[in-house]
Symmetry: C2
Subunit: 234 residues, 2 copies
DNA sequence: TCAAAAGTGTTACAACTACACCCATGA
DNA sequence: TCATGGGTGTAGTTGTAACACTTTTGA
C-alpha cells in the first residue's frame, strides 16, 4: 500500500483564476503581464502551498493580487496535459471569479502589471490560458442563464438598466427591457430602494439590492432540485 | 522565473471515478474494496502518469478496471484538502462516468473486488470519497435535467418505459408517463425501431435508439448557447 | 421645450400540467 | 378472458415573445 505511494511521481500544482469584471458597458477579464515575453499576458495564478486547500489557495492568491475578500469564486476545471507548461510538469486548477470593478480598480496596478481586457480583444495568452478563458466564458454564460450570479459583478446597489446591460454583455445581445425587468422582478430576489441613480440619465433609475437571505437560500437549493415531470429541458 | 518553480513543493496527483450504472430498476455506483480495512470501500482510482493527461488517465484507469472504452466521462471536481489522504498529500481529480451495467457486469469482479451499490445504501467510504459521490449525484441530477445524457446509462436499444424508469431513479420520483414520453419524443432525438421488447410485458414496448449525429451536435452546441430574452431561468 | 433614458401593459402563441381510457399480448 | 404493462389525447393554466407609448427631468 505504502509502496504504491512511493512509486508515484509528484507534480507541481498551480492555481489560475479567470477574473471577470463588469465596467458598466463591457465584460472584462483581468490579466497580468509575465516578465519574460513582451506581448504575452497570463491569468492570475500561484502555487498550492502545503498548508492550504485548493479553494483556500485560490482565495489567498486573489487576495494577494487584488486585496479583495468575499469574492464569488468557483472551481472551473483542472488542466493537466503533460506538456502544458514547458518548464516543468504542472497540473493547474482553474477557478473563475466575479468581481465588481469599482471595488478595487486602483489597487491592482500598483504592485502588479495588471490590466482589464475586453473579452473580444484578448492578447496572446501564456500556455493553455486561452483555453481556460474560453471555458470560463462558456461556463459564465451557461451558469448565468440559470443562476442569479449576475449580481456578483455589480455594486451592492444597482439599477435594472445596469443589470440588463450586464446580461447584454454576457450574451452579446440586446434583451427586451420590458420582458427583462418583468422576469427579473418576478423572482422577488430584488429589493427596490427609495434612492434613485443620479447623473446617468435625466430621469434617474431606481436602485435595487439583492435580498441576500433569499439569494443564499436559492443558491444552496439549486444543486438539490428535483424537476417535476416536465422540467426536463431537452 | 525558474527559481520560482524550484521553490515549490510537488504533490501526488490521483484520479477517482464515480461510476454510475443503471440496472433497469435502480441507480448504482461501482465501488472497490481496498485491502486494508474490512468495511471500507473506495472509488475506482489510480495515479496520474508522467506521459498522460487527466482525461487520458481517467480513461485508462476505467479501462483497466472494467475493460470499457468510449464511456461517458466528465471531469467533476478536484479535491485537495491538505489532510484528505492521511498517507501523503494527494490532489485528486474526480471524474464521473455513466455506463451501461449490462456491458460489463461480469468482467469487473474477476480481477478486482468490485460491487454495485445502490445510491441509497452506500457503505462507509475511504477518505473524502463520500463527498465525491454526493457531488456526483447532485451533478448527475442537475445535468440530466438539461442534457440528454440519460442514454449513456442504457443499452444501445431501449424502450421509453426503460428511459422513464431511469429518470424516476435519478430523481427518486415518479414521472407521468404521458408527459414524459411526449417530452422525450418532441426532441426528435430518438429513432423508433420496428422491433419490440419481449418478455417484460405482454404487449411489448418499441425499442428506440439515439440519433447519434443529432445527439453529438446538440452536446456540442449546448455550451455555446445564447438564451433569448426570456430563457433566463431565475 | 426637447432629448435621452426609465418605466410600464397587452395580446398571440407555445409549453406545461393534470388527468383516464383503450390496446396488445401471453398465460 | 383477463391481467399486465404500453400507448395515446385534451383542456385548463401558465409562461414566453413581440411590440409602442408615456413619464421624468436636466440642459
Amino acid at each position: 500500500m505504502i509502496e504504491q505511494y512511493q512509486a508515484q511521481k509528484p507534480y507541481l500544482v498551480a492555481l489560475d483564476s479567470i477574473i471577470f469584471g463588469f465596467d458598466g458597458e463591457q465584460l472584462n477579464v483581468l490579466l497580468v503581464k509575465r516578465g519574460i515575453e513582451e506581448d504575452t499576458w497570463s491569468l492570475m495564478g500561484g502555487w498550492l502551498r502545503p498548508d492550504e486547500g485548493l479553494a483556500g489557495a485560490a482565495e489567498r492568491i486573489l487576495f494577494e493580487l487584488t486585496g479583495l475578500t468575499n469574492v464569488y469564486l468557483e472551481q472551473l476545471h483542472t488542466f493537466g496535459e503533460p506538456d502544458r507548461d514547458p518548464v516543468t510538469r504542472t497540473v493547474s486548477v482553474a477557478y473563475f471569479a466575479l468581481v465588481n470593478v469599482a471595488d478595487f480598480d486602483s489597487k491592482i496596478s500598483e504592485t502588479y502589471q495588471a490590466r482589464w481586457f475586453s473579452l473580444y480583444d484578448l492578447p496572446p495568452l501564456l500556455f493553455d490560458h486561452g483555453e481556460m478563458v474560453d471555458l470560463a466564458i462558456r461556463q459564465l454564460r451557461y451558469k448565468a442563464a440559470q443562476h442569479p450570479i449576475g449580481f456578483e459583478l455589480l455594486p451592492e446597489k444597482f439599477t435594472i438598466p445596469q443589470l440588463k446591460k450586464l446580461y447584454d454583455a454576457i450574451y452579446d445581445t440586446d434583451f427586451d427591457k420590458r420582458n427583462f425587468s418583468r422576469k427579473i422582478l418576478s423572482t422577488n430576489l430584488l429589493i427596490k430602494l427609495e434612492e434613485k441613480q443620479k447623473g446617468v440619465s435625466r430621469r434617474g433609475a431606481y436602485f435595487y439590492q439583492v435580498d441576500l437571505p433569499k439569494y443564499q437560500q436559492l443558491t444552496k437549493s439549486f444543486l438539490n432540485f428535483v424537476p417535476h415531470s416536465e422540467t426536463i429541458f431537452w
